[in-house]
Symmetry: C2
Subunit: 224 residues, 2 copies
């Protein structure tokens, strides 16, 4: 966490955060002991996780309604004259859920975003190797892309980061194999979190990976 984020959180009177229904929440757990004892908390519980596939039109409709409601809640707090801190894991503008609230709040109430350490930085640091050197090209891919597109980018890049893997793991592995970078790939699970694990991809036997997993292929470019 950054000093700036810590300063905001220590004094925040209203604190909102996303979590899976019925869970304590990763983001909330990180700030345990940091918040004011009298801070008012707003847990935003995702209406769905993996029950409905992303391709189903109901998926977008449900999430869109959820983001609409949470935005209305934040806006109401702001209009009552209060600041509200929204917790994010990783960097808010790098595939964070908060992006969907930000897009809806923009122009309605003032929003300040505090940049943060991305999950991928935590992941490559955990491997003990720089992700890239010199003029290496780094590509960040979502495991949800189709195999051909994954392969095409893996071939064209010097360094690769794959996020959002989950049940797409076997397809991502096939793409890495076809692109010739399977042997060089690493998997970091729960980077910078409790239970962090780091392994060469070739050593992984599972058929799927937890949500907080990142696959890395390091670049080997020019270096003095």
């Amino acid at each position: 966490m950054s000093l700036r984020a810590e300063r905001v959180l220590r004094s925040a009177q209203h604190v909102a955060f996303f979590r899976k229904a019925g869970r304590w929440g990763h983001a909330r757990r990180i700030v345990e002991g940091l918040l004011r004892p009298d801070a008012v908390e707003y847990p935003f519980e995702y209406p769905i996780t993996t029950e409905i596939p992303v391709s189903d039109p109901r998926y977008n409709a449900l999430l869109s309604a959820f983001y609409g409601q949470t935005t209305a809640q934040l806006e109401a707090i702001a209009r009552a004259g209060h600041d509200v801190a929204v917790l994010c894991e990783g960097d808010p503008f790098f595939y964070g859920s908060f992006m969907h609230l930000h897009a809806r709040l923009k122009g309605r109430v003032p929003v300040q975003v505090i940049p943060a350490i991305t999950g991928m930085s935590a992941a490559w640091t955990a491997t003990g190797q720089p992700i890239a050197w010199g003029d290496d090209v780094i590509t960040v891919l979502a495991g949800t892309l189709d195999q051909a597109r994954l392969e095409q980018h893996m071939r064209a890049s010097d360094a690769v980061v794959v996020m959002k893997i989950g049940a797409h793991f076997p397809k991502v592995v096939r793409a890495l194999q076809s692109a010739g970078c399977y042997e060089d790939a690493w998997v970091v699970q729960y980077a910078a979190m409790a239970g962090q694990s780091v392994a060469k991809l070739a050593e992984i036997k599972a058929r799927s990976l937890p949500y907080f997993s990142i696959i890395l292929v390091h670049g080997r470019g020019r270096r003095p």
Copy 2:
């Protein structure tokens, strides 16, 4: 700066950092007031900046000798039984100068790397827009690449980050124009530093950009 980095720096008895010859140094300035008054400082002054082109064999030879000397200094401190903190701007394993010391120190003395906020996260936060959405592909490019390679990656990606621009600026602009993303590009100079500026690329009249400049093209992917 992260809480973890701050904790290390507040107690560090030996602190090393890179800087341009004769300058105070960006990294050193950031920690002013944070270090112990009796901390021993080791400024590592780059032997060259832009006097010798990267393509000149002397460039690599000079830098390699410089990294060799600084590594020897760090190793000597460690072998004398002391910890030494090395300052890095941005994330150390994301194109940081420290990578060249890390590669030389690895296996000789214990080294711990603390992940940090990348310059590109600071840059896209400064634009007030997420860099990418859903399964957008993000590609990180060095302005030192040739125009054809830049163009090819710009065309294939949804979101683009260009670093290491400097005197390569006109070439990067031509590549963005050919790839059809010039109108959507932003330039952030000195992200999260004093003198930060944010502008649409089309508004920039200069022929080169300062070292701490990043060009961004935001993705516009799937969003609920």
